[in-house]
Symmetry: C2
């Protein structure tokens, strides 16, 4: 048996957002490796071993997946959203880079998925319709000073900003500090969207202004989108406003 | 018949990357609206009208789709990649905002797709594994000065940078100028990836350094990814190197 390793994106939650490519890889796999709640999204079947791990163990998990593939197993590492965005793909390549040189010539593929950012954007309109950036707000793997610097530069560039991992019990104050800092750089009237558990049964989406944004609205499953100076709301009689950023910014020079 | 409008992402090209949600919407549609090459990706069938338009006619196309939905048709506006990223979703909401107030209460949904950026990243490893931004290099709808400002700020933030629409016959010099400007801000040794026609039969991917990057390698179907200071290559005996950006950046403060 020739082993392989696929790092697959399961999308934000709904089965309707899993690509056929990922579904096919899961059907051929002998082993599923990942954070327990994502592994739980792959049903049990004979011949399939599911390896669950904790949230903080990305590198161990990547090493396990690579060893299994090197032994000839067909391994799928599962991430939610897109595996290339603050998820398992980078962890696997870090492990390849630092590990057994033979791992470099394994059959390793990344299978893209619907990212949390684009799923959240789609639910409310088109907030990412113009230039944007994505920042992981966690300071577990980078200095908080660098996060602040990036937030200020992103605000000065008038990017729409997507914040991943805005808050956890171990990182309670960072999102509030980010809002405070952004209010120093940009207008308090820009829309801020809190998109939680997008495409799940428990989905909630709230749109407020930066002026009124408070960190308590977010949790570990929330993606926060901060509009640019051009982001607009369209009020509707029957529900949430649409939020979009027009394609144009000022008059062409 | 109750009309609706779905703005759907067909992904980068391969059928394996189209979500079941999009496939279902296409199967229920009475009308497909879009840029001719994307409309051509939806097979003809009885009862389906396909409306093709030119590249530059986004707002007319959006208006047509909204009028059809208001008349009770089931309309899918097709984009490649994700419809929310430099594509049709923003154009539709611009048309809603400026058009018939009744359009606000139509059933309008955005169906996310696999974006060019994440598809390209997946083909080479995990270049977007850390903080990143996406910039539309076209100055059709914004002043070139703003593009330059954003490129400089993004480089100063040490973001990985994805450049959409890098080049066309009407915009021949902008990408070369962007490389020149980035070489003033960041090291010439950062990797630059030219990903063309990702997931298509004609896919080509080239990785060079910023020092050696020349605009002539790109065309209208190319996505250009510029690494951050942390982006690394993993050489392989059997083919293209992997390109990835580690999750960590410096020692936490």
């Amino acid at each position: 048996m020739t082993g392989w390793l696929a790092i697959a994106g399961l999308g934000p939650g709904a089965a309707q957002l899993v690509t056929p490519e990922v579904t096919a890889a899961l059907a051929e796999a002998t082993d599923i490796v990942g954070y327990a709640p994502y592994v739980a999204r792959v049903p049990e079947r004979p011949g399939l071993t599911r390896h669950r791990s904790d949230n903080r163990e990305e590198i161990d998990r990547a090493g396990l997946a690579l060893r299994l593939a090197a032994e000839g197993r067909r391994v799928v590492v599962v991430s939610s959203g897109d595996p290339g965005v603050f998820a398992m793909a980078a962890a696997v390549f870090e492990a390849v880079d630092a590990g057994d040189p033979a791992w470099r010539d394994l059959d390793i593929r990344v299978l893209p998925g619907i990212s949390a950012m684009f799923a959240a954007a789609a639910r409310i309109g088109a907030p990412l319709g113009h230039d944007f950036c994505a920042i992981n707000l966690s300071d577990n793997l980078k200095p908080w000073g660098l996060v602040e610097r990036r937030l200020r530069l992103a605000a000065q560039a008038d990017f729409v900003i997507a914040l991943y991992n805005p808050l956890s019990s171990a990182r309670p104050w960072q999102l509030g500090r980010a809002f405070e800092l952004l209010r120093e750089e940009i207008s308090g009237s820009v829309p801020v969207v809190f998109a939680r558990a997008v495409s799940d049964a428990t989905e909630t989406i709230e749109t407020v202004t930066l002026r009124d944004a408070v960190a308590g609205r977010a949790d570990m499953r929330t993606l926060v989108l901060i509009g640019s100076s051009r982001t607009r709301l369209i009020a509707r009689a029957g529900g949430q406003p649409f939020v979009y950023t027009p394609r144009s910014a000022g008059v062409p020079s």
